[in-house]
Every structure is written in C-alpha cells, then in structure tokens.
C-alpha cells in the first residue's frame, strides 16, 4: 500500500495531471423500435412485474448506440458482475500514473517514482473520497474511510520501467497484478478480486467511477464498489462501505444496469480510458468466455435438464462477466453483463441484467427477453 513506500523528501510537487478522468460523453441514444421490442418481449415473457433489471444496447454499424431498459436506473446488489469496475479503475489508474510519471520525467529516479506519485495523488484521492458521504462513519458498520483503504497500492500494481526514448521512467502492470485481474474476471476469484480492488483502493476506484459519470457521488446510484469480496478471515481484508439498494438494503457491490451497460459500450467503442486500455479490458472479458466459458445466459442443458439459455447457433457471447451472490434473506441473485453477437446478421449488442432469482424456468425468462428484443429490433420473426 502507499504507506509502505519509502519516504520522499518533503517538497512541493507542482504537478498538473488530473487524478481522475473527465466525465465520459453519454454514448446512448434512443430508438423506438428497440424500446418497443423490449417492451413487447417483457410482455410476452415475464411481464411488467418482473424483478430483473435489464438494459440492452444495439452496437449499430452506423455508430449509433440506442439503449432500451427495464428498471434500468434501479440500484441493485450485483454480486461478482461488479468486479469489472475494479478492472476499469485499474486501467484508469495506470493512465494517470503514467501521465504523472511523464510529467515528472527525469526528476524521478526508478526508486522514488512511485513514492513521488503517491505523494501527489494520495491527497487528491482522499479529498475526492471526502466528498462522498458513503465513506463517512456509520454507527454499527464502520468508521471513516482510512487512507490505507482509500489509496492505491502502487508498488503492488506497477513495475517501474524505463520510459526510453523519453527521459525518466514509466510504469506497467506487474505480472502478479495482471494475474489478479485475470483470475478475478475469468474464474471470478474472490481473493484475486480483493487484491485487484486493494490495488486501486476504494477512494480511487469510486472517485474514478464518479468522475467518469458512471456513479452519482451524491445519490449513490450507478456503479459502486467498496467491498472486497474476500472472506472474513482473508489477510488484510478491507471493511465494507455500503449504499442503499433496491434488492438488498445496504450493500457494497451495486450498480444500475444502465451505468454498467454504459461502461461496456464505452469499452466497445475504444473510449473507456483510451483505445489501448479498452482493447486490453475487452481481452480480459473475452477470456472469461474462451478460458472456461463462464456465461449464464447460453446454458442450454445441465445434467440432462433444459436450462432455457440462448441457443449457440443463434447467438454467440463474446465477452462476459457473470455473478451470483446471496441476499440478506439467504436467496441467491444472478447477474451478468455481456457482449453478444446475433450470428445470422453479425449484429452486436451489450446486455446487462441483474437481480434474477432462479425458478424452474432457470435462464429462459432472460434469454427470451434478449432473443425477442433483438429479433424484434432486427425485423426478424420474434
């Protein structure tokens, strides 16, 4: 963590690099055909009382990004789907740290680069976290957010390497940290998620989400991640900081599906962090499919029993993060954010959904809503 770094000389660092991203432009438009298709799909399937929050974005060839949603702004506990936010913040942090390193140039040695960066960024991270009421002490839950839990663990996240041909040094993700991100996404490892989340720190992670426009830092709607998934006995487990949710009262891993779909859409359009980072993040989500096929929505059979998922001959999930986790009632809710392709037309869509409780129809309600909405939008027989 930042506190473990060697001390640097006490001097003013007159750096200019913004610590957090600018707000991303909203990529979404509206399309009556997509709205109507979703509405009809829900009417024909689970009905308007459906508990699931659902958003779909058409990645149209002309660059338009119409989005349709159902309960799209509701904040829900999203289980491990929310881990993608930790992936995003790590890449946002890398961009900032590289920019600060470039600004420092030859003024920093290999040994003191990260301490100097921490000395610059940490106060800004703490200031940003200080604007978020969810990080204030709550009786019976936790105290104020501490610097140790708020700020990045620079030395664990980055290796310092030569910036040649530029002067000075820059950073790259350490192999160990890349492995944490990889395991977090492709097999949903909780301990690796903890290491990834600790890498950014709650303050940087949620500060980046808020600055990017993916979280409203006042109402705490949008993507919120301030719980590290680790079991209570895990070494260096962080306390949890919670916000209100529709499905499970106060929770530390939550989102609205609109904001989650926005994060995916920006990534798909090479606009999240930057083009190279978007490509890298998509590779992590792609490996979740190619490595072990961790996908809910295309499960068609298990133990000889139909599961109701999308047929692989019609749709291909290309990028994914799934989740399942318990509510306070003990019931488990499922969530998933995917990029999928309609095979016949090659058209691609972002789909995010959460708060599904399984019954004997298993994936059929979600799969049918996806299928009917896409087919309706594409003008195909529902």
């Amino acid at each position: 963590m930042g506190g473990d770094l060697p001390a640097v000389p006490d001097r003013v660092l007159a750096l200019k690099t913004p610590p957090f991203p600018d707000k991303y432009a909203d990529p979404f438009g509206t399309d009556k055909k997509l709205d109507d298709s979703l509405s009809k799909a829900i009417d024909a399937g689970p009905g308007k009382s459906w508990r699931v929050a659902f958003a779909i974005v058409a990645l149209d060839p002309d660059g338009k990004r119409p989005m349709a949603q159902f309960r799209g702004n509701e904040e829900h506990y999203g289980a491990s789907m929310i881990k993608v936010a930790a992936l995003y913040s790590a890449f946002e942090l890398r961009k900032v740290v590289k920019a600060v390193a470039k600004e420092l140039g030859a003024a920093a040695t290999q040994k003191d680069l990260l301490p100097q960066i921490a000395r610059y960024l940490n106060p800004l991270v703490m200031a940003k976290a200080g604007t978020m009421s969810a990080f204030k002490a709550v009786n019976g839950e936790h105290g104020d957010l501490l610097k140790a839990n708020a700020c990045p663990q620079y030395a664990n996240v980055f290796d310092v390497v030569s910036a040649s041909p530029d002067p000075g040094f820059t950073v790259k993700f350490s192999k160990a940290f890349e492995n944490h991100m990889d395991q977090m996404i492709k097999v949903s490892s909780n301990n690796d998620a903890a290491e990834t989340i600790h890498g950014s720190g709650y303050g940087y992670l949620n500060g980046a989400l808020a600055s990017a426009g993916l979280l409203d830092g006042s109402s705490f709607t949008g993507i919120w991640l301030a719980g590290d998934y680790a079991d209570p006995g895990y070494v260096n487990k962080y306390p949890y900081f919670r916000v209100d949710s529709v499905n499970d009262q106060r929770v530390a891993q939550a989102t609205s599906v609109i904001q989650f779909a926005k994060m995916y859409t920006l990534m798909t359009d090479s606009k999240l962090v930057d083009a190279a980072s978007s490509t890298e993040m998509l590779e992590y989500l792609h490996r979740a499919v190619t490595y072990k096929h961790e996908v809910w929505i295309d499960r068609t059979v298990a133990d000889g029993v139909p599961q109701g998922g999308l047929d692989a001959s019609e749709f291909s999930v290309t990028h994914n993060k799934l989740g399942v986790g318990p509510l306070k009632t003990g019931a488990s809710v499922y969530s998933e954010a995917s990029i999928l392709r309609h095979n016949e037309t090659g058209r691609r869509f972002v789909v995010a959904w959460q708060n599904l409780l399984l019954d004997n129809t298993i994936w059929a309600p979600v799969a049918q809503v996806i299928r009917r909405t896409i087919r309706g939008y594409l003008g195909l027989t529902p």
Binding site: Y77, A79, S80, D182, V187, S188, S189, N190, G227, Y229, A230, D231, P232, G233, Y240, R242, V251, A252, Y291, K292, H293, E294, R299, A302, D303, G304, V305, Q307, L322, G323, V324, G325, P326, L327, K328, G330, A331, S332, L357, L358, I362
Partner: protein
C-alpha cells in the same frame, strides 16, 4: 534453473525408492496404440451419447496399474462449472519409470437428488457427488517419462471436447514429503448463507469438520510456459498439487459458487 537441474532437484527432494529407481534408464515415448473403446468404463455404465467423445483406453496390458499404485483426485464443482469435473490420478512404476494416468469425468450422467444448493445452479460439495452413477465414463490420458525424471508427456490422445479438454500434453512433477490435514469421506461444505459483510455471516465450514493429519508425498505440477494460463483444466492441475497418501487416497474438493461460497479442502476418497 535448467531443466536438468530441476529434474535432479526433484529427485533429491523426492528421495523415495520409487524416484531413485526411476533414474536408471530413459526411454523414448512409446507409440500410441489403438484405443480399446470403453475399456476403463465401469462395466455397468450404459452407453450415453453425451459422454465425452474420446474413448478411454489402456496403452498395453503391461501398463495396468499394479500393487503400489497411488491415487489422488481433483474434484471441481460449483455454480460456475458448466459441468462438474473430476480427475482421478493414478501413479505407478513400470520398468523403473514413473507412469501417470488421469481419468477425466464429467458429471451429469444420472440425476441425483440433493446435489445442489437451493436456488443455485450446479453441483455443491454435499457428499452426494461421490455417487459413482452421477459420473460419465472417463476419458483416460496416460503420461510417461520419455527422458528426464518426472518430466511426463501424454502418450494418449488429449480430449478436445467437453469439459475434459485442456489437459496438459506435458507436465513436470516436483515432489517432497508433506503432512496434510484431511477431512472425512464426503464431508459437506456449508456456505455462510449471506454475503461476507452481512450481519450474521458465518464463514464457510465443513461438516463433519474433523480432520486427520497424515503423511503424504506432495508433487507440484509445473506446465511448460507455453501452456500455462491457456487452459482451465491444466491450470487447475498446476494450481493444486498431487498428494499421494499411502493408506487411504485423498482428493482436493473445490467448489466455485462465486460469492455464495468459493472454497476447497482435502477429503479422504470413498473406498471403491
């Protein structure tokens, strides 16, 4: 460390008569003989079109594990597994060389009550997963030492379909004595019931929780750099060493049900 140096270090670390005898000669990998379909399948197993498509086989009659063969099992279940997998490893010596056989099985062959958790897809570690009828006939891969001690190569076709795809073509064993705490046969994993941060959350526990500490030989599995990270099954093998226990084989039982429970432990294997 060079390949040869590691092999020597392995030999020294193992220090067992089995390993010492294994350095006497080196032989090239034997040609793969024609598979005899179903030879490793349980006699009572009915034909099933959903069974893995690579037939089980034995390399030759001299390669049947004999007295002194040791067994270990990886058991991988949970909501995040499309189909549960179990890998049953058998190690023995033939002509002074180590032989290793893995029998890979997918679950789902028969419908068994009580395999899962309420509201959760997939198979949980309840103990009921030990029911043999639940498992499809195995796909078998044999490994031999073509040269360096404990550098093993597959001499059987590697499965390419279903959950058994991705077994490593080559692996290296680095062994040393160990002590391991082992749960009883079929010990059940009890999930915490709520999220780790929720009030009243209990860490996952095993029932019964009694463990017996036993002597074991611990063999870490190393994959060639080119295959590390490319296959879930190969990584699962490399991530959890083979543990040979003389008196009573043990298994590594791991359930990945995401936030509900993500835990594993050693259990004694059921007696056949």
């Amino acid at each position: 460390m060079s390949r040869a140096a590691l092999a020597l270090a392995t030999l020294v670390a193992c220090g067992s008569p089995r390993s010492e005898s294994a350095q006497k000669t080196a032989e090239p990998a034997a040609p793969i003989t024609a598979p005899s379909a179903g030879s490793n399948a349980p006699p009572s197993s009915p034909p099933d079109t959903r069974a893995p498509t690579v037939a089980a086989h034995v390399v030759d009659s001299g390669e049947v594990p004999g007295p002194g063969a040791r067994t270990f099992r990886h058991l991988l279940v949970g909501a995040l597994m499309r189909a549960p997998i179990r890998l049953t490893w058998t190690e023995w010596t033939h002509d002074a060389h180590t032989r290793l056989r893995v029998a890979c099985q997918e679950g789902g062959h028969a419908k068994i009550a009580g395999l899962g958790r309420p509201g959760l897809v997939g198979v949980a570690l309840t103990g009921k997963e030990n029911d043999e009828s639940y498992w499809f006939p195995p796909v078998v891969v044999d490994y031999r030492e073509p040269g360096a001690i404990h550098d093993l190569v597959a001499v059987s076709p590697l499965p390419t379909q279903h959950g058994c795809s991705g077994l490593p073509a080559k692996l290296r064993l680095t062994c040393k004595p160990d002590r391991v705490a082992v749960l009883g046969v079929g010990a059940a994993l009890i999930a915490g019931g709520t999220k780790p941060d929720d009030p009243g959350h209990r860490p996952a526990t095993w029932r019964p929780s009694t463990r017996k500490t036993v002597d074991a030989e611990r063999c870490e599995v190393t994959l060639p750099e080119s295959s590390a990270g490319s296959s879930f099954l190969a990584d699962a093998v490399a991530g959890q060493p083979l543990l040979w226990v003389a008196d009573h084989p043990i298994e590594w039982a791991f359930e990945n049900s995401d936030v509900v429970v993500q835990a594993g432990a050693y259990r004694f294997m059921p007696t056949p």
